[in-house]
Symmetry: C2
Subunit: 246 residues, 2 copies
Amino acid sequence: MEYTAIRPQRGLPLYLQLKQMIQTQIASGVMHPGDRVPSERELSDRFGMSRMTARQALLELVREGFLYREQGRGTFVAHRKVNQGLLGVTSFTDDMRARGVEPASRGLEQRLELADQEARDHLELDLGAMVVRLKRLRLGDGRPMALEEAVLPADLVPGLEEHSLDGDFSLYAWLRERNIFFQRARQTLEAVLANGEQAELLGVLVGAPLLLLERQSYGQDGQPLEFVRAHYRADRFKFFVDLTQV
Amino acid sequence: MEYTAIRPQRGLPLYLQLKQMIQTQIASGVMHPGDRVPSERELSDRFGMSRMTARQALLELVREGFLYREQGRGTFVAHRKVNQGLLGVTSFTDDMRARGVEPASRGLEQRLELADQEARDHLELDLGAMVVRLKRLRLGDGRPMALEEAVLPADLVPGLEEHSLDGDFSLYAWLRERNIFFQRARQTLEAVLANGEQAELLGVLVGAPLLLLERQSYGQDGQPLEFVRAHYRADRFKFFVDLTQV
DNA sequence: TCTGTTCGTTGGACTAGACCAGAGGAGGTG
DNA sequence: CACCTCCTCTGGTCTAGTCCAACGAACAGA
């Protein structure tokens, strides 16, 4: 753990500053899963805060899944990546890997464009705002699994429209590297029938059953970060949702 | 808020005792949604504990969705019932009501029986254990929406096998009244085709698309509480999942 | 070599205070 | 009457300690 000065932001609570510092170190790769985080007493000594304050930062990170604690041993960086940053959803990548299938993607569309009505509604943007639109074909072991279209506010993701979408590119990992985390999401899941374009790209017959997922994700300040619409091949896909009360 | 003595259970942390007391009062109907809970200072005075200890109990209940707080005003009993007790899933009842459809049920099977292999696996039971099996047809505005089969350990739900399943009976409400809460759940969702029995009961053609949901729920001690397998009419059903990082 | 015991470290629980900021009611003033 | 100020209540943050329980390493003895 780096020895950084703490009071960089006046006005922001101490425990939040410490929390963000640790969160950044995990996200940036300074600390790895399994690494021990300094103890409550060590942090409070080092940063000149009381133990309860350091404790509050650690407990929040534990609740959010970034750390885990073992009495008598210490506090450690969590292995599971909180399902790509959001409790409860399993991402395409996670789900595929969990079933021993190698995930990949093929970029279909990728452009910076003027937000249309639907995008403005979902992302709470004003007329004239720009968005980045990504359309990808998701593959599992090389076979088509899903068709996914994501729209993000352009000013939040500069450079995204030029990044390669092929191979094992993960949008969530890309965002995480830039310290953009999801805080909340609203997702719907339903069954629909494949239209011509979808059928062709996914390699099924027109009228085949597809799982349609729509997700609206919000960032840490509550601002909309992305809107996703994905069509999954019903015969090759099953959703897992892990739900925790705490 | 009732003035109950606090140290009824030695060994159990004070803040957990307070938390359980408040939780019980909400579940039992002593306190209603919107009611103000005593302030941190009032609770600490009344029960002879420090403010931080009372605070810990309140904050945990806030995190679990039973209470909400407003700075300068107070702490209140939450209106939303955390989606029938579990963050993230919308229950059949909630989802129907949200769409302005009146939910109802028709009991199909209901019996106390020896747990079969599958039930023992899902509920972590020993050979010879008994389970309660409930099979219901779920209706929305009188029309068939889903076929639901739930299996619960018999010793945890005495009397359930004799309770009427028809009308607006809610299993989760029944459990809540007995202070049985879910703590964790694992759910899968996939698309399947209707077989003969399902098609007849749901009023669709054989081969029609259905959404198959399987859920395994765990109680506050981590013991399995129920296993549910439900088939939803794809044309009439859409799942909502609200996901929160905190 | 194995088997306890001791001891330092960690997280868990708890105390008794402090100051701040937001909400809202009680009064006073125009 | 309408408006403003002040005072009290609330939760939010923070301090500087205490004692306990679990873990594990170092150590001592059979």
